[in-house]
Homo-oligomer: 299 residues x 2
Amino acid sequence: MKSLIIGSIAIDNIYTPDAEYKNLIGGSAVYAGISAAKFGEVGVSGVIGAQMSEEIMEFLRANNVLCDYIEVKEGKTFSWSGRYLDDMNLRETISLDLGVFADFSPKLPEKSAEYVLLANISPELQGYVMGKMQGAFFMLDTMDHWITEHRQDLVSMLKGIDLFLLNDSEAQLLSGKRNVIKAGREILAMGPSAVIVKKGEHGALLFVESDIFIAPAYPTENAVDPTGAGDSFAGALLGRISAMGFDKDRLIADMAYASAAASICVEGFGPYVLADASADDICGRVRGFKKALGCNLLD
Amino acid sequence: MKSLIIGSIAIDNIYTPDAEYKNLIGGSAVYAGISAAKFGEVGVSGVIGAQMSEEIMEFLRANNVLCDYIEVKEGKTFSWSGRYLDDMNLRETISLDLGVFADFSPKLPEKSAEYVLLANISPELQGYVMGKMQGAFFMLDTMDHWITEHRQDLVSMLKGIDLFLLNDSEAQLLSGKRNVIKAGREILAMGPSAVIVKKGEHGALLFVESDIFIAPAYPTENAVDPTGAGDSFAGALLGRISAMGFDKDRLIADMAYASAAASICVEGFGPYVLADASADDICGRVRGFKKALGCNLLD
Protein backbone atom coordinates (compact mmCIF):
# COMPACT_ATOMS: atom_id res chain seq x y z
CA MET A 1 0.00 0.00 0.00
CA LYS A 2 1.43 3.34 -1.08
CA SER A 3 -0.09 5.50 1.62
CA LEU A 4 -2.05 4.91 4.78
CA ILE A 5 -4.12 7.13 7.04
CA ILE A 6 -4.67 6.27 10.69
CA GLY A 7 -7.49 8.21 12.28
CA SER A 8 -11.10 8.39 13.36
CA ILE A 9 -14.23 7.25 11.55
CA ALA A 10 -17.31 8.88 12.98
CA ILE A 11 -20.93 9.86 12.76
CA ASP A 12 -21.34 13.63 13.03
CA ASN A 13 -24.27 15.84 13.95
CA ILE A 14 -23.54 19.39 12.87
CA TYR A 15 -25.29 22.62 13.80
CA THR A 16 -24.47 25.95 12.14
CA PRO A 17 -26.21 29.31 12.46
CA ASP A 18 -28.17 28.47 9.32
CA ALA A 19 -28.81 24.73 9.38
CA GLU A 20 -28.49 21.39 11.12
CA TYR A 21 -27.58 17.99 9.72
CA LYS A 22 -27.65 14.66 11.54
CA ASN A 23 -25.98 11.28 10.95
CA LEU A 24 -23.33 12.56 8.58
CA ILE A 25 -20.39 10.29 7.85
CA GLY A 26 -17.35 11.96 9.43
CA GLY A 27 -14.02 11.52 11.16
CA SER A 28 -10.49 12.60 10.30
CA ALA A 29 -9.60 9.43 8.39
CA VAL A 30 -12.75 9.66 6.25
CA TYR A 31 -12.18 13.24 5.13
CA ALA A 32 -8.45 12.70 4.63
CA GLY A 33 -9.02 9.37 2.88
CA ILE A 34 -11.47 10.52 0.21
CA SER A 35 -9.30 13.59 -0.39
CA ALA A 36 -6.06 11.61 -0.76
CA ALA A 37 -7.72 9.01 -2.99
CA LYS A 38 -8.19 11.60 -5.73
CA PHE A 39 -4.42 11.55 -6.28
CA GLY A 40 -3.49 7.89 -5.84
CA GLU A 41 -3.72 4.67 -3.82
CA VAL A 42 -4.59 5.17 -0.18
CA GLY A 43 -5.91 3.04 2.64
CA VAL A 44 -7.43 3.83 6.00
CA SER A 45 -6.82 2.16 9.33
CA GLY A 46 -9.70 2.78 11.71
CA VAL A 47 -12.58 1.27 13.64
CA ILE A 48 -16.36 1.42 13.26
CA GLY A 49 -19.12 0.21 15.56
CA ALA A 50 -22.33 -1.41 14.41
CA GLN A 51 -24.12 1.84 13.70
CA MET A 52 -23.97 2.86 10.01
CA SER A 53 -21.02 0.53 9.42
CA GLU A 54 -22.20 -0.71 6.03
CA GLU A 55 -23.05 2.76 4.79
CA ILE A 56 -19.63 4.05 5.84
CA MET A 57 -17.71 1.16 4.26
CA GLU A 58 -19.68 1.53 1.02
CA PHE A 59 -19.03 5.27 0.97
CA LEU A 60 -15.28 4.79 1.44
CA ARG A 61 -15.04 2.03 -1.18
CA ALA A 62 -17.06 4.07 -3.66
CA ASN A 63 -14.47 6.81 -3.19
CA ASN A 64 -11.51 4.50 -3.88
CA VAL A 65 -10.36 4.26 -0.28
CA LEU A 66 -8.90 0.82 0.58
CA CYS A 67 -10.71 -0.52 3.64
CA ASP A 68 -8.64 -3.66 4.45
CA TYR A 69 -7.44 -2.15 7.71
CA ILE A 70 -10.78 -0.90 8.96
CA GLU A 71 -12.28 -3.08 11.69
CA VAL A 72 -16.00 -3.29 12.38
CA LYS A 73 -16.60 -4.06 16.05
CA GLU A 74 -19.54 -4.58 18.32
CA GLY A 75 -20.49 -1.38 20.11
CA LYS A 76 -21.26 2.21 19.13
CA THR A 77 -19.59 4.06 16.30
CA PHE A 78 -17.66 7.16 17.44
CA SER A 79 -20.16 10.02 17.41
CA TRP A 80 -19.60 13.79 17.57
CA SER A 81 -22.13 16.60 17.78
CA GLY A 82 -20.85 20.14 17.32
CA ARG A 83 -22.11 23.64 16.84
CA TYR A 84 -20.48 26.38 14.78
CA LEU A 85 -20.91 29.91 16.08
CA ASP A 86 -21.69 33.02 14.05
CA ASP A 87 -17.98 33.27 13.35
CA MET A 88 -17.66 29.92 11.54
CA ASN A 89 -14.02 29.71 12.68
CA LEU A 90 -15.27 28.96 16.19
CA ARG A 91 -16.99 25.76 17.23
CA GLU A 92 -18.10 24.03 20.40
CA THR A 93 -18.60 20.34 21.05
CA ILE A 94 -22.14 19.54 22.17
CA SER A 95 -21.54 15.86 22.81
CA LEU A 96 -18.92 13.24 22.09
CA ASP A 97 -19.23 9.47 22.43
CA LEU A 98 -16.02 7.62 21.60
CA GLY A 99 -17.76 4.23 21.41
CA VAL A 100 -15.48 1.58 19.89
CA PHE A 101 -12.89 4.29 19.14
CA ALA A 102 -12.05 4.43 22.87
CA ASP A 103 -10.12 1.16 22.55
CA PHE A 104 -8.84 1.76 19.01
CA SER A 105 -5.74 -0.31 18.29
CA PRO A 106 -4.82 0.30 14.64
CA LYS A 107 -4.68 -2.75 12.42
CA LEU A 108 -1.67 -2.26 10.15
CA PRO A 109 -0.31 -3.90 6.99
CA GLU A 110 2.61 -6.31 7.38
CA LYS A 111 4.69 -4.27 4.99
CA SER A 112 4.93 -0.59 5.87
CA ALA A 113 3.18 1.97 3.70
CA GLU A 114 5.54 4.51 2.06
CA TYR A 115 3.58 7.55 3.21
CA VAL A 116 1.68 7.65 6.48
CA LEU A 117 -0.71 10.30 7.79
CA LEU A 118 -1.10 10.09 11.56
CA ALA A 119 -4.39 11.95 11.77
CA ASN A 120 -5.83 13.28 15.00
CA ILE A 121 -5.52 10.36 17.46
CA SER A 122 -3.61 10.06 20.75
CA PRO A 123 0.17 10.63 20.61
CA GLU A 124 0.53 7.20 22.22
CA LEU A 125 -1.20 5.51 19.26
CA GLN A 126 0.65 7.73 16.80
CA GLY A 127 3.94 6.65 18.39
CA TYR A 128 2.87 3.00 18.19
CA VAL A 129 2.25 3.32 14.44
CA MET A 130 5.59 5.06 13.91
CA GLY A 131 7.32 2.16 15.60
CA LYS A 132 5.57 -0.34 13.31
CA MET A 133 6.15 1.62 10.10
CA GLN A 134 9.79 2.55 10.35
CA GLY A 135 11.23 4.21 7.27
CA ALA A 136 7.91 5.68 6.12
CA PHE A 137 7.32 9.38 5.42
CA PHE A 138 5.28 10.61 8.38
CA MET A 139 2.70 13.39 8.40
CA LEU A 140 1.29 14.24 11.80
CA ASP A 141 -1.87 16.08 12.83
CA THR A 142 -2.98 16.75 16.40
CA MET A 143 -5.44 18.78 18.51
CA ASP A 144 -5.50 21.03 21.58
CA HIS A 145 -6.47 18.16 23.91
CA TRP A 146 -3.26 16.21 23.17
CA ILE A 147 -1.12 19.35 23.47
CA THR A 148 -2.55 20.12 26.88
CA GLU A 149 -2.88 16.63 28.33
CA HIS A 150 -0.18 14.57 26.54
CA ARG A 151 2.39 17.24 25.77
CA GLN A 152 5.51 15.16 26.45
CA ASP A 153 4.31 12.20 24.36
CA LEU A 154 3.61 14.59 21.49
CA VAL A 155 6.84 16.57 21.71
CA SER A 156 9.03 13.47 22.02
CA MET A 157 7.62 12.23 18.71
CA LEU A 158 8.29 15.34 16.66
CA LYS A 159 11.90 14.58 15.73
CA GLY A 160 10.69 11.60 13.70
CA ILE A 161 8.03 13.59 11.84
CA ASP A 162 8.52 14.77 8.25
CA LEU A 163 5.55 17.13 8.09
CA PHE A 164 3.64 18.35 11.14
CA LEU A 165 0.27 20.03 10.63
CA LEU A 166 -1.59 21.93 13.32
CA ASN A 167 -3.88 24.92 13.40
CA ASP A 168 -2.98 28.42 14.57
CA SER A 169 -4.49 28.21 18.05
CA GLU A 170 -2.82 24.83 18.58
CA ALA A 171 0.50 26.27 17.40
CA GLN A 172 0.12 29.11 19.91
CA LEU A 173 -0.71 26.60 22.64
CA LEU A 174 2.24 24.31 21.85
CA SER A 175 4.84 27.08 21.44
CA GLY A 176 3.59 29.60 23.97
CA LYS A 177 4.00 32.28 21.25
CA ARG A 178 1.10 34.53 20.25
CA ASN A 179 2.64 35.49 16.90
CA VAL A 180 2.05 32.58 14.50
CA ILE A 181 5.32 33.18 12.66
CA LYS A 182 7.24 32.89 15.93
CA ALA A 183 5.09 29.90 16.88
CA GLY A 184 5.78 28.13 13.58
CA ARG A 185 9.53 28.67 13.81
CA GLU A 186 9.57 27.48 17.42
CA ILE A 187 7.70 24.28 16.55
CA LEU A 188 10.00 23.63 13.58
CA ALA A 189 12.91 23.83 16.03
CA MET A 190 11.26 21.00 18.03
CA GLY A 191 12.25 18.56 15.31
CA PRO A 192 9.87 18.09 12.38
CA SER A 193 11.36 18.60 8.90
CA ALA A 194 8.49 20.93 8.00
CA VAL A 195 5.60 22.55 9.85
CA ILE A 196 2.29 23.73 8.43
CA VAL A 197 0.19 26.11 10.54
CA LYS A 198 -3.40 26.03 9.29
CA LYS A 199 -5.49 29.20 9.62
CA GLY A 200 -8.88 28.03 8.34
CA GLU A 201 -10.41 30.52 5.91
CA HIS A 202 -7.17 32.51 6.05
CA GLY A 203 -5.06 29.75 4.52
CA ALA A 204 -1.90 28.19 5.91
CA LEU A 205 1.77 28.95 6.49
CA LEU A 206 4.59 26.53 5.77
CA PHE A 207 7.84 26.60 7.74
CA VAL A 208 10.78 24.70 6.29
CA GLU A 209 14.41 25.39 7.18
CA SER A 210 14.66 29.19 7.43
CA ASP A 211 11.92 29.81 4.85
CA ILE A 212 8.28 30.73 5.29
CA PHE A 213 5.76 30.04 2.54
CA ILE A 214 2.20 31.34 2.28
CA ALA A 215 -0.64 29.14 1.03
CA PRO A 216 -3.82 31.20 0.83
CA ALA A 217 -7.23 29.65 1.19
CA TYR A 218 -9.20 29.37 -2.03
CA PRO A 219 -11.87 32.07 -1.79
CA THR A 220 -15.28 30.45 -1.71
CA GLU A 221 -18.53 32.22 -0.96
CA ASN A 222 -20.35 28.97 -0.39
CA ALA A 223 -18.71 27.90 2.87
CA VAL A 224 -21.46 26.22 4.87
CA ASP A 225 -19.67 23.65 7.09
CA PRO A 226 -16.00 23.85 8.08
CA THR A 227 -15.98 20.28 9.45
CA GLY A 228 -13.22 18.20 7.91
CA ALA A 229 -11.52 21.10 6.11
CA GLY A 230 -8.22 20.49 7.90
CA ASP A 231 -8.43 16.74 7.30
CA SER A 232 -9.24 17.22 3.60
CA PHE A 233 -6.26 19.57 3.43
CA ALA A 234 -3.96 16.97 5.01
CA GLY A 235 -5.36 14.18 2.86
CA ALA A 236 -4.87 16.03 -0.43
CA LEU A 237 -1.33 16.88 0.65
CA LEU A 238 -0.67 13.21 1.42
CA GLY A 239 -2.10 12.30 -1.97
CA ARG A 240 0.07 14.80 -3.82
CA ILE A 241 3.22 13.87 -1.92
CA SER A 242 2.68 10.14 -2.42
CA ALA A 243 1.99 10.68 -6.14
CA MET A 244 4.87 13.08 -6.83
CA GLY A 245 7.40 12.20 -4.10
CA PHE A 246 8.31 14.57 -1.31
CA ASP A 247 10.20 17.68 -2.36
CA LYS A 248 10.44 20.45 0.23
CA ASP A 249 10.90 22.98 -2.57
CA ARG A 250 7.63 21.95 -4.17
CA LEU A 251 5.61 21.62 -0.99
CA ILE A 252 4.07 25.08 -1.35
CA ALA A 253 2.63 24.05 -4.73
CA ASP A 254 1.29 20.81 -3.25
CA MET A 255 -0.41 22.95 -0.61
CA ALA A 256 -2.41 24.69 -3.34
CA TYR A 257 -4.06 21.32 -4.07
CA ALA A 258 -4.70 20.90 -0.35
CA SER A 259 -6.31 24.36 -0.11
CA ALA A 260 -8.43 23.62 -3.16
CA ALA A 261 -9.67 20.33 -1.69
CA ALA A 262 -10.46 22.01 1.64
CA SER A 263 -12.40 24.79 -0.11
CA ILE A 264 -14.58 22.21 -1.88
CA CYS A 265 -15.07 20.30 1.38
CA VAL A 266 -16.57 23.31 3.19
CA GLU A 267 -19.12 23.89 0.43
CA GLY A 268 -21.40 21.15 1.76
CA PHE A 269 -22.33 19.41 4.99
CA GLY A 270 -20.28 16.28 5.64
CA PRO A 271 -17.81 14.82 3.12
CA TYR A 272 -20.28 14.37 0.26
CA VAL A 273 -19.50 17.44 -1.85
CA LEU A 274 -15.80 16.67 -1.69
CA ALA A 275 -16.57 13.05 -2.53
CA ASP A 276 -18.37 14.15 -5.68
CA ALA A 277 -15.52 16.43 -6.79
CA SER A 278 -13.01 15.07 -9.31
CA ALA A 279 -9.25 15.58 -9.36
CA ASP A 280 -9.96 17.91 -12.30
CA ASP A 281 -12.24 20.06 -10.14
CA ILE A 282 -9.37 20.44 -7.68
CA CYS A 283 -6.85 21.21 -10.44
CA GLY A 284 -9.20 23.86 -11.79
CA ARG A 285 -9.08 25.69 -8.47
CA VAL A 286 -5.30 25.34 -8.34
CA ARG A 287 -5.07 27.03 -11.75
CA GLY A 288 -7.25 29.81 -10.33
CA PHE A 289 -4.67 30.52 -7.62
CA LYS A 290 -1.99 31.66 -10.04
CA LYS A 291 -4.21 34.41 -11.41
CA ALA A 292 -5.74 35.28 -8.05
CA LEU A 293 -2.28 35.79 -6.55
CA GLY A 294 -1.05 37.90 -9.46
CA CYS A 295 1.93 35.57 -9.87
CA ASN A 296 2.67 36.77 -13.40
CA LEU A 297 2.95 40.34 -12.16
CA LEU A 298 5.30 39.94 -9.20
CA ASP A 299 8.95 40.61 -9.97
CA MET B 1 0.04 68.11 -6.78
CA LYS B 2 -0.06 64.54 -8.04
CA SER B 3 -1.79 62.95 -5.08
CA LEU B 4 -3.49 64.16 -1.93
CA ILE B 5 -4.57 62.47 1.27
CA ILE B 6 -7.35 63.93 3.41
CA GLY B 7 -7.44 62.49 6.91
CA SER B 8 -6.57 62.78 10.56
CA ILE B 9 -3.34 63.91 12.20
CA ALA B 10 -3.15 62.78 15.79
CA ILE B 11 -1.20 62.07 18.93
CA ASP B 12 -1.54 58.44 19.98
CA ASN B 13 -1.04 56.64 23.27
CA ILE B 14 -0.79 52.93 22.64
CA TYR B 15 -0.97 50.03 25.07
CA THR B 16 -0.23 46.45 24.04
CA PRO B 17 0.08 43.33 26.20
CA ASP B 18 3.85 43.85 26.20
CA ALA B 19 4.44 47.61 26.21
CA GLU B 20 3.05 51.13 26.31
CA TYR B 21 4.08 54.19 24.33
CA LYS B 22 2.84 57.75 24.80
CA ASN B 23 2.77 60.84 22.59
CA LEU B 24 3.36 59.00 19.33
CA ILE B 25 2.69 60.88 16.12
CA GLY B 26 -0.34 59.23 14.54
CA GLY B 27 -3.48 59.63 12.46
CA SER B 28 -4.62 58.12 9.16
CA ALA B 29 -3.15 60.89 7.00
CA VAL B 30 0.26 60.62 8.67
CA TYR B 31 0.63 56.88 8.17
CA ALA B 32 -0.79 57.03 4.64
CA GLY B 33 1.31 60.10 3.79
CA ILE B 34 4.72 58.78 4.74
CA SER B 35 3.88 55.48 3.06
CA ALA B 36 2.74 57.09 -0.22
CA ALA B 37 5.72 59.48 -0.27
CA LYS B 38 8.07 56.55 -0.82
CA PHE B 39 6.66 56.20 -4.33
CA GLY B 40 6.09 59.78 -5.46
CA GLU B 41 4.76 63.28 -4.77
CA VAL B 42 2.04 63.40 -2.16
CA GLY B 43 0.47 66.03 0.05
CA VAL B 44 -1.71 65.87 3.11
CA SER B 45 -4.76 67.96 3.98
CA GLY B 46 -5.38 67.95 7.73
CA VAL B 47 -5.47 69.97 10.91
CA ILE B 48 -3.22 70.07 14.00
CA GLY B 49 -3.70 71.85 17.31
CA ALA B 50 -0.95 73.55 19.27
CA GLN B 51 0.30 70.39 20.94
CA MET B 52 3.31 68.84 19.15
CA SER B 53 2.49 70.78 15.97
CA GLU B 54 6.11 71.62 15.14
CA GLU B 55 7.30 68.09 15.78
CA ILE B 56 4.56 66.68 13.56
CA MET B 57 5.21 69.13 10.70
CA GLU B 58 8.94 68.46 10.86
CA PHE B 59 8.33 64.72 10.83
CA LEU B 60 6.09 64.94 7.77
CA ARG B 61 8.44 67.24 5.87
CA ALA B 62 11.42 65.04 6.69
CA ASN B 63 9.47 62.19 5.11
CA ASN B 64 8.77 64.10 1.88
CA VAL B 65 5.11 64.78 2.61
CA LEU B 66 3.92 68.16 1.28
CA CYS B 67 2.33 70.09 4.12
CA ASP B 68 0.86 73.13 2.29
CA TYR B 69 -2.68 72.00 3.09
CA ILE B 70 -2.17 71.26 6.75
CA GLU B 71 -3.56 73.92 9.06
CA VAL B 72 -2.26 74.55 12.56
CA LYS B 73 -5.04 75.89 14.77
CA GLU B 74 -5.45 76.98 18.35
CA GLY B 75 -6.78 74.19 20.50
CA LYS B 76 -5.86 70.58 21.20
CA THR B 77 -4.43 68.20 18.66
CA PHE B 78 -6.65 65.15 18.03
CA SER B 79 -5.61 62.54 20.57
CA TRP B 80 -6.34 58.80 20.73
CA SER B 81 -5.49 56.27 23.41
CA GLY B 82 -6.03 52.61 22.62
CA ARG B 83 -5.28 49.20 23.99
CA TYR B 84 -4.58 46.05 21.97
CA LEU B 85 -5.77 42.81 23.52
CA ASP B 86 -3.89 39.52 23.66
CA ASP B 87 -5.18 38.86 20.17
CA MET B 88 -3.52 41.84 18.49
CA ASN B 89 -6.30 41.92 15.89
CA LEU B 90 -8.63 43.27 18.58
CA ARG B 91 -8.38 46.73 20.09
CA GLU B 92 -10.41 48.99 22.35
CA THR B 93 -10.40 52.76 22.54
CA ILE B 94 -9.50 54.01 26.02
CA SER B 95 -10.06 57.68 25.27
CA LEU B 96 -10.53 59.93 22.27
CA ASP B 97 -10.35 63.73 22.16
CA LEU B 98 -11.09 65.14 18.72
CA GLY B 99 -9.77 68.63 19.63
CA VAL B 100 -9.40 70.82 16.52
CA PHE B 101 -10.28 67.81 14.33
CA ALA B 102 -13.92 68.15 15.46
CA ASP B 103 -14.35 71.16 13.16
CA PHE B 104 -12.02 69.95 10.41
CA SER B 105 -12.79 71.61 7.09
CA PRO B 106 -10.18 70.40 4.59
CA LYS B 107 -8.07 73.07 2.92
CA LEU B 108 -7.70 71.98 -0.70
CA PRO B 109 -5.52 73.01 -3.67
CA GLU B 110 -7.15 75.19 -6.36
CA LYS B 111 -6.30 72.64 -9.01
CA SER B 112 -7.49 69.14 -8.22
CA ALA B 113 -4.96 66.43 -7.40
CA GLU B 114 -4.96 63.51 -9.84
CA TYR B 115 -5.21 60.83 -7.16
CA VAL B 116 -7.07 61.41 -3.91
CA LEU B 117 -7.20 59.19 -0.82
CA LEU B 118 -10.21 59.99 1.33
CA ALA B 119 -8.90 58.47 4.55
CA ASN B 120 -11.06 57.75 7.55
CA ILE B 121 -13.10 60.97 8.06
CA SER B 122 -16.86 61.57 7.98
CA PRO B 123 -18.68 60.66 4.76
CA GLU B 124 -19.96 64.24 4.74
CA LEU B 125 -16.41 65.64 4.51
CA GLN B 126 -15.41 62.94 2.05
CA GLY B 127 -18.35 63.94 -0.15
CA TYR B 128 -17.33 67.60 0.12
CA VAL B 129 -13.82 66.79 -1.13
CA MET B 130 -15.20 64.70 -4.01
CA GLY B 131 -17.28 67.68 -5.09
CA LYS B 132 -14.21 69.94 -5.09
CA MET B 133 -11.89 67.50 -6.87
CA GLN B 134 -14.03 66.28 -9.73
CA GLY B 135 -12.27 64.06 -12.24
CA ALA B 136 -9.74 62.76 -9.73
CA PHE B 137 -9.15 59.05 -9.01
CA PHE B 138 -10.77 58.44 -5.63
CA MET B 139 -9.71 55.95 -3.00
CA LEU B 140 -11.99 55.73 0.03
CA ASP B 141 -11.42 54.34 3.51
CA THR B 142 -13.99 54.30 6.32
CA MET B 143 -14.73 52.81 9.75
CA ASP B 144 -17.52 51.05 11.65
CA HIS B 145 -18.80 54.29 13.20
CA TRP B 146 -19.63 55.84 9.80
CA ILE B 147 -21.22 52.60 8.56
CA THR B 148 -23.49 52.46 11.60
CA GLU B 149 -24.28 56.15 12.07
CA HIS B 150 -23.94 57.67 8.56
CA ARG B 151 -24.79 54.73 6.38
CA GLN B 152 -26.77 56.60 3.73
CA ASP B 153 -24.11 59.31 3.30
CA LEU B 154 -21.52 56.62 2.84
CA VAL B 155 -23.51 54.42 0.48
CA SER B 156 -24.61 57.31 -1.72
CA MET B 157 -20.95 58.20 -2.32
CA LEU B 158 -19.80 54.75 -3.44
CA LYS B 159 -20.76 55.06 -7.13
CA GLY B 160 -18.14 57.79 -7.52
CA ILE B 161 -15.37 55.78 -5.85
CA ASP B 162 -12.65 54.05 -7.86
CA LEU B 163 -11.20 51.97 -5.03
CA PHE B 164 -12.97 51.37 -1.71
CA LEU B 165 -10.96 49.93 1.18
CA LEU B 166 -12.49 48.61 4.37
CA ASN B 167 -11.67 45.88 6.83
CA ASP B 168 -13.42 42.52 7.15
CA SER B 169 -15.62 43.38 10.12
CA GLU B 170 -16.63 46.65 8.43
CA ALA B 171 -17.44 44.77 5.23
CA GLN B 172 -19.63 42.37 7.19
CA LEU B 173 -21.34 45.31 8.88
CA LEU B 174 -21.95 47.20 5.62
CA SER B 175 -23.15 44.20 3.60
CA GLY B 176 -24.92 42.19 6.30
CA LYS B 177 -23.02 39.11 5.02
CA ARG B 178 -20.87 37.00 7.36
CA ASN B 179 -18.85 35.43 4.52
CA VAL B 180 -16.26 38.00 3.42
CA ILE B 181 -16.39 36.85 -0.21
CA LYS B 182 -20.13 37.44 -0.28
CA ALA B 183 -19.60 40.73 1.58
CA GLY B 184 -16.98 41.93 -0.89
CA ARG B 185 -19.11 41.10 -3.92
CA GLU B 186 -22.13 42.80 -2.35
CA ILE B 187 -20.16 45.98 -1.66
CA LEU B 188 -18.71 45.98 -5.19
CA ALA B 189 -22.30 45.91 -6.45
CA MET B 190 -22.96 49.13 -4.48
CA GLY B 191 -20.92 51.04 -7.02
CA PRO B 192 -17.16 51.29 -6.49
CA SER B 193 -14.97 50.14 -9.41
CA ALA B 194 -12.94 47.96 -7.04
CA VAL B 195 -13.21 46.89 -3.40
CA ILE B 196 -10.41 45.80 -1.08
CA VAL B 197 -11.36 43.95 2.10
CA LYS B 198 -8.46 44.14 4.56
CA LYS B 199 -7.96 41.24 6.99
CA GLY B 200 -5.04 42.49 9.09
CA GLU B 201 -2.40 39.81 9.60
CA HIS B 202 -4.33 37.60 7.17
CA GLY B 203 -3.86 39.91 4.21
CA ALA B 204 -6.51 41.39 1.95
CA LEU B 205 -8.93 40.41 -0.81
CA LEU B 206 -9.53 42.45 -3.96
CA PHE B 207 -12.87 42.39 -5.76
CA VAL B 208 -12.97 43.79 -9.28
CA GLU B 209 -15.62 42.93 -11.87
CA SER B 210 -16.27 39.20 -11.38
CA ASP B 211 -12.72 38.45 -10.21
CA ILE B 212 -11.35 37.91 -6.72
CA PHE B 213 -7.65 38.41 -6.03
CA ILE B 214 -5.74 37.40 -2.90
CA ALA B 215 -3.04 39.63 -1.41
CA PRO B 216 -1.44 37.82 1.53
CA ALA B 217 0.11 39.71 4.41
CA TYR B 218 3.89 39.68 4.47
CA PRO B 219 4.81 37.26 7.28
CA THR B 220 6.61 39.17 10.03
CA GLU B 221 7.43 37.80 13.44
CA ASN B 222 8.16 41.27 14.80
CA ALA B 223 4.61 42.66 14.84
CA VAL B 224 4.43 44.84 17.95
CA ASP B 225 1.86 47.55 17.12
CA PRO B 226 -0.88 47.18 14.46
CA THR B 227 -1.76 50.91 14.60
CA GLY B 228 -1.66 52.49 11.16
CA ALA B 229 -1.21 49.23 9.26
CA GLY B 230 -4.36 49.81 7.20
CA ASP B 231 -3.43 53.44 6.54
CA SER B 232 0.11 52.48 5.49
CA PHE B 233 -1.44 49.89 3.20
CA ALA B 234 -3.75 52.48 1.61
CA GLY B 235 -0.93 55.04 1.35
CA ALA B 236 1.46 52.69 -0.42
CA LEU B 237 -1.31 51.70 -2.80
CA LEU B 238 -2.01 55.38 -3.54
CA GLY B 239 1.72 55.90 -4.11
CA ARG B 240 2.00 52.97 -6.50
CA ILE B 241 -1.16 53.89 -8.42
CA SER B 242 -0.13 57.54 -8.77
CA ALA B 243 3.37 56.52 -9.91
CA MET B 244 2.29 53.81 -12.36
CA GLY B 245 -1.23 54.86 -13.33
CA PHE B 246 -4.31 52.86 -12.40
CA ASP B 247 -4.63 49.47 -14.08
CA LYS B 248 -7.20 47.11 -12.59
CA ASP B 249 -5.26 44.15 -13.99
CA ARG B 250 -2.12 45.24 -12.12
CA LEU B 251 -3.82 46.20 -8.88
CA ILE B 252 -3.04 42.86 -7.21
CA ALA B 253 0.68 43.50 -7.78
CA ASP B 254 0.37 47.02 -6.39
CA MET B 255 -1.21 45.47 -3.31
CA ALA B 256 1.99 43.50 -2.69
CA TYR B 257 3.73 46.86 -2.13
CA ALA B 258 0.91 47.88 0.18
CA SER B 259 1.20 44.66 2.20
CA ALA B 260 4.97 45.10 2.41
CA ALA B 261 4.61 48.68 3.71
CA ALA B 262 2.01 47.58 6.27
CA SER B 263 4.26 44.76 7.49
CA ILE B 264 7.09 47.21 8.11
CA CYS B 265 4.71 49.62 9.85
CA VAL B 266 3.66 47.06 12.47
CA GLU B 267 7.26 46.29 13.40
CA GLY B 268 7.51 49.39 15.59
CA PHE B 269 5.35 51.66 17.72
CA GLY B 270 4.04 54.66 15.83
CA PRO B 271 5.06 55.51 12.25
CA TYR B 272 8.81 55.74 12.92
CA VAL B 273 9.98 52.34 11.66
CA LEU B 274 8.02 52.81 8.44
CA ALA B 275 9.44 56.32 8.15
CA ASP B 276 12.97 54.91 8.31
CA ALA B 277 12.28 52.27 5.66
CA SER B 278 13.28 53.01 2.07
CA ALA B 279 11.39 52.18 -1.11
CA ASP B 280 14.09 49.52 -1.60
CA ASP B 281 13.19 47.92 1.74
CA ILE B 282 9.60 47.66 0.53
CA CYS B 283 10.63 46.28 -2.87
CA GLY B 284 12.76 43.65 -1.11
CA ARG B 285 9.69 42.34 0.67
CA VAL B 286 7.70 42.38 -2.56
CA ARG B 287 10.35 40.17 -4.18
CA GLY B 288 10.01 37.86 -1.19
CA PHE B 289 6.32 37.33 -1.98
CA LYS B 290 6.95 35.61 -5.29
CA LYS B 291 9.01 32.87 -3.65
CA ALA B 292 6.82 32.68 -0.56
CA LEU B 293 3.73 32.08 -2.71
CA GLY B 294 5.42 29.47 -4.88
CA CYS B 295 4.46 31.45 -7.99
CA ASN B 296 7.02 29.67 -10.17
CA LEU B 297 5.50 26.32 -9.27
CA LEU B 298 1.81 26.95 -9.89
CA ASP B 299 0.56 25.84 -13.30
